[in-house]
Symmetry: C2
Subunit: 265 residues, 2 copies
């Protein structure tokens, strides 16, 4: 998504040129290119698929909507397995229209995980619950802190359900480092993603994630937390940013790799 | 601020008509009207001044900027006393330009409170630290949770420093009800403010606070938390909303009073 202006073949080629060893993919471009064709493309390029984004949206009350969400998530698990990644990221969903019941919505996520977790486990795919920034609590994800995500994840085996740590969402939270340690102790850090926090936020607050080094987040500090917790997995950079999308994708990828070297490595 | 389109005399008259017994004032319109003239106006109308908003912005590193901030806050304390309110709301400040040190910024707030708290106490004014929503952590207020605000407040006497509870900022936080109980137990809930959470957020995320009943927040639930914690003070409605500001101020005040009756009383 950081360089969504590139086609998947262009992305694979650019990653190879820059020595980027792996890539997190989103379902929409993968399905547009074809799941099998994408798997073949990335395998041929020697690229690891670090994660697939995203499943989730489990908070509906209507039974038919819940059944559709579970069906879609089973497809996402199968797509992840076909792409050769062991990690499916989950954005859990916001409040249904007219509801003010955050607790109830969180319980419905647990209900969905109870069905989806074993299915994912059978496919060798781990579900990574992402705590989203509290500004998304109403309309996107009722899990706003790592503590809340981990409270849910710990009801299930670690090889079925863990959490994703994204600096953009948790950088403000002085409880997050402790939760990262807690997650690491049971092997539940299933993904680690970077984006910087820059202001002012754009309308809708979706596409304002900052390039590494441009904002308030100390990337090395957070890398230190996950590594101290035993995390040895990939580090993904996930920027949704209109200004970056408007530029040449290869140039943005080159800049991002340089920023990664400067602020993370 | 909810009806900033009204002059202070218009506001006082409209409050009387609607039976609104008190009003929280902001410093800018008060100073424009004159502090003494405002005090006389609200006294004459029989209106309580429930709070003065706002002091704060304590996070600068530069000594001259810090001294200026303290001077300004002393003036704010004096203005609060002159207006006859015992509560000054504090927005603590964000990260200084180029800084990524949230912890250091929070400590500088404590340093300022150590000077300002006794001064406020001498004037019969309580400082109310407001935890602002985490989306303001970088540029407006490094205190993002009631727990953080209370950790700071508890270093000082309760009649000098407490917290403000604003539903807009804390509604997403499942730790907030427990922190409200903690604050109440030591008499540190110095203000209680309402605004609803509506989406999508506008650019800059400052002026999108929802009218009571329009969003995700259960107002009675939060009123219940502060009352269970022993709070008996005023309940303020504080909406920053371009759409409300564009309408007739008396009509907005009437609507707000009706929403208060429907969703809070």
């Amino acid at each position: 998504m950081t360089v969504r202006q590139l086609t998947l073949p262009e992305l694979a080629e650019a990653c190879l040129e820059l020595g980027v060893p792996g890539v997190g993919l989103w379902r929409e471009p993968v399905r547009a290119h074809g799941v099998e064709a994408t798997a073949k493309l990335v395998r041929g390029a020697g690229l690891a698929v670090t994660s697939l984004c995203r499943g989730g949206f489990f908070t509906a009350i209507d039974p038919a909507a819940r059944a559709r969400a579970l069906d879609d998530n089973r497809r996402a698990v199968e797509e992840a397995a076909a792409l050769g990644t062991d990690t499916l990221l989950l954005v859990s969903g916001g409040l249904p229209a007219g509801s003010r019941d955050l607790r109830g919505a969180r319980e419905r996520i647990a209900d969905a995980l109870a069905e989806l977790g074993p299915f994912a486990g059978q496919h060798g795919v781990r579900l990574a619950l992402e705590a989203l920034h509290p500004m998304y609590a109403a309309d996107r994800c009722v899990l706003s802190t790592l503590a809340q995500a981990l409270d849910l994840a710990e009801r299930f085996p670690a090889d079925q359900v863990g959490i994703a740590v994204d600096t953009y969402h948790v950088w403000w939270d002085d409880g997050a480092p402790g939760q990262i340690a807690r997650a690491g102790a049971t092997g539940r850090i299933h993904a680690f993603q970077l984006a910087d926090w820059t202001t002012p936020l754009p309308a809708g607050v979706l596409d304002g994630r900052g390039q590494l080094g441009d904002g308030a987040v100390d990337m090395r500090e957070w890398r230190g937390y996950v590594e101290a917790a035993g995390y040895t997995g990939p580090i993904e950079v996930e920027l949704f940013n209109e200004a970056l999308w408007a530029r040449d994708g290869r140039e943005v990828l080159r800049e991002t790799a340089a920023r990664f070297a400067e602020h993370v490595s």
